[in-house]
Symmetry: C2
Subunit: 246 residues, 2 copies
């Protein structure tokens, strides 16, 4: 009896299959389309910003989980930069802080963002699932999950344009986070794709990497599902979730 083992994808096939998952990326989500076509009111923009902060906040925990599972100091030396980018090296710097500046630019106070009063449970579930994935699954699969960064720059460009065009009440100084990601995301993704290719030799490993990327697309997608549902009827002047709960 022989067992048929599927041949590994070539480098090009593997890259193409990973890249094809961009179809699942949240740039196509109805909520993102609404945002980028200027259909959200100020309160909805605020609530999206506050909820997305939960995700920003857990990213260094996810990256530290990857470090804690990665036995190669050479890879850790590169990957640790993501944590430094997000946390900064001194108070008031880094990606988390840049997102807080966006929150202030859309009219929220730091306090109401930091205390997470607006976070809807589905956002926690999805973001926490990503941290749990990084803690419990092979580190190279968590690296593969990060490859959504490959798809990010186009979305970031559209979002920056949308803010300038449709939400001109937002101070453009608040867009630092989005602007930085235009260069950080491709650099980070470029390194990640190389180590995914290096460490996923067999077809099974390649398929697990693809599955990890699909999982991550679903994390981001389901965050927008739950934010969309929570804010869809929120009016400019009403209290938070008045409509959603009535």
């Amino acid at each position: 009896m022989t067992t048929t083992v599927a041949a590994p994808l070539s480098r090009e096939e593997f890259i193409a299959t990973l890249q094809a998952q961009s179809e699942r990326y949240y740039h196509k989500h109805p909520f993102n389309v609404s945002m980028n076509t200027g259909q959200l009111n100020r309160r909805q923009i605020q609530l999206w910003t506050a909820n997305r902060f939960y995700y920003q906040r857990i990213i260094p925990l996810k990256d530290a989980a990857i470090l804690s599972n990665c036995p190669d100091p050479a890879i850790r030396r590169v990957w640790i930069q993501r944590i430094i980018d997000h946390d900064g090296t001194v108070a008031g710097q880094g990606g988390i802080e840049d997102w807080l500046k966006l929150a202030e630019a859309v009219g929220l106070s730091r306090a109401e963002v930091l205390d997470e009063r607006y976070i809807v449970s589905g956002v926690r579930f999805a973001a926490d699932a990503y941290v749990t994935f990084a803690k419990t699954q092979p580190w190279i699969e968590a690296v593969a999950a990060s490859l959504t960064e490959w798809f990010a720059p186009d979305l970031m460009k559209e979002r920056i344009e949308a803010f300038k065009r449709h939400y001109s009440w937002v101070n453009t100084d608040g867009l630092t986070y989005l602007n930085k990601r235009l260069t950080q995301a491709p650099n980070d993704a470029g390194y990640a794709i190389e180590i995914v290719i290096q460490h996923c030799h067999t077809r099974e490993q390649q398929e697990r990497a693809i599955k990890a990327l699909v999982f991550k697309c679903e994390v981001l997608w389901s965050m927008l599902d739950t934010i969309h549902h929570a804010v869809k009827d929120v009016k400019e002047q009403k209290g938070i979730f008045d409509n959603a709960r009535s």
Copy 2:
């Protein structure tokens, strides 16, 4: 019905109780005493060095696990330095590399250290238990576990003296790791004790911190138990573990 809750220890009592755990530190272990009094032969020194490397190797994984559980960016910004100290910022630097230099100074090749051929299972079990503790227990308890660094400088000083006196065949350039820890360990422990005090308010939290430090002392102690057993009859010119297995 009333429940009696033990009052928290004062800052001074808490510090004193943590410090009292130095009694359990491995400076009193018979194997350490043998080493520091010059009773080990070259092969035994080599095998201790190779086995201890396993512990050095997992330290950044343990520290990354603490980061991945710590929600405070201000603490992460400080704690991340431990990973950088150990991994270095470029190849050939950092604590892991310094331990490899010690291994070479005692006459081992990098290859035979890196492939872990001499590691005894009990060393893996103990060191891995420390990583698992940091992954699965509250981050502040894993920080408390690190407080063995408080006890380290005296042991490091003795060990450096012992190498110079009794094992003068070891090139002193190889002692970089031990020398660096003379200053790094007190700095690291000084920060760790402050955050343990800040985050352990209740008696129960304080007792869990003390228990974490006891656990860590036992990790280090049991590593020496198993190394001691494995190398105790190893002669200078014999192959690895010839005696232990005969």
